[in-house]
């Protein structure tokens, strides 16, 4: 098992962990964190799978570099929206979410 494949497998697990968090958690800050975990998992899969045979591939690396920047921007926007929601309603969860989490 090559190191690239180990990275990809860890990425797949992180992706599933993040996806589950986005669905299950009610608190929006936790949802945003879970979403970032999901994204990092996808990046690990992209880079890891591309170099599972040893050699590196510049194409997925460039895509992941683009993806990281977009993920940072999306996270900042999500945090700004969350803070606005908190300032307007005092809540950190969506109105239709019940207790839990």
């Amino acid at each position: 098992m090559s190191p690239g494949l180990i990275y990809a497998l860890a990425g797949a697990l992180l992706f599933v962990l993040g996806a589950t968090g986005v669905i299950v958690l009610a608190n929006l800050l936790r949802k945003i964190l879970a979403f970032n975990l999901l994204g990092s998992g996808a990046f690990l899969v992209l880079v890891g799978l591309a170099q599972r045979d040893g050699g590196t591939d510049p194409l997925p690396q460039a895509m992941v570099l683009t993806g990281i920047v977009v993920a940072v921007a999306a996270t900042a926007l999500a945090l700004a929206l969350l803070r606005r929601l908190h300032r307007l309603t005092g809540q950190t969860r969506l109105p239709d979410e019940k207790e839990h989490g």
Binding site: L5, A8, L9, A12, L13, F15, V16, L17, A19, T20, I23, V24, A26, L49, R52, D53, G55, T56, D57, P58, L59, Q61, A62, M63, L65, T66, V69, V70, V72, A73, A74, A76, L77, L79, A80, L81, R83, R84, R87, E97, K98, H100, G101
Partner: protein, 221 residues
């Protein structure tokens, strides 16, 4: 979400994870040799580093749209973070921290310039350089040397859009080449450097904005 729905979701996720892992163990060899294709065209790209060549030449439109997404996120933040007059009383900055920040920032700007220049043939480039610039701005804000950006002026707004506009202008000027962002090989290096300089400044300012537009307004000490 009920306890049963949560349990079902976690169970489905575990099943999904198992499927993914099994699929990765059974992957065949790739059918197209993309690293080979990039290496074959590298001499025509204007830069010597394969990742930089992919980012700014072979798939330049990805980078163009990426800057557009950054700008969109910034516009969204500008829209929801209007100045509501809420300020938090903060203690004045620590003198040691302020002095350290003032000493560190010139070196961070130097590092950003190095990363920008070295991006053509080694790991580095506009994004790394821009993020180092943004880190310098954030450091100044945390040390209370630089206040939060409450009302962005014209110069700052121009800085935010300049990278995207330069990139767009180059793309529009080259549209007669047939494909989007197909540089003439003789000019590729110079055009990529021009785009990267614009991107570095813009990305640095946009990333700083993501923090300095959202940070708490401070009352002046």
């Amino acid at each position: 979400m009920s306890a049963f729905a949560r349990f079902a979701t976690v169970l489905l996720a575990a099943l999904f994870a198992t499927t993914l892992v099994a699929a990765m163990f059974n992957l065949g060899a790739p059918t197209v040799d993309l690293p080979g294709a990039v290496a074959a065209q590298l001499t025509h790209s204007g830069v010597a580093h394969p990742v930089a060549a992919v980012l700014l030449n072979f798939r330049g439109y990805d980078t163009l749209l990426e800057v557009a997404v950054l700008l969109l996120a910034l516009l969204g933040i500008l829209g929801v973070s209007h100045d509501d007059g809420v300020t938090t009383p903060t203690p004045p900055g620590e003198p040691v921290l302020q002095a350290l920040a003032r000493m560190a920032v010139p070196f961070m700007i130097l590092t950003a310039g190095y990363l920008l220049w070295v991006g053509a043939h080694r790991p580095g480039g506009a994004f790394q350089a821009g993020v180092v610039l943004a880190a310098a701005v954030v450091l100044l804000n945390l040390a209370r040397v630089l206040p939060a950006w409450t009302r962005p002026g014209l110069l700052l707004r121009l800085g935010w859009v300049s990278g995207f506009l330069i990139f767009l202008a180059v793309a529009a000027a080259l549209i007669s080449q047939g494909h989007l962002l197909q540089y003439p090989p003789a000019w590729a290096g110079a055009l990529i450097l021009l785009i990267e300089v614009g991107l570095t400044i813009s990305i640095g300012l946009i990333m700083s904005g993501l923090f300095l537009l959202l940070t708490e307004r401070q009352t002046s000490p």
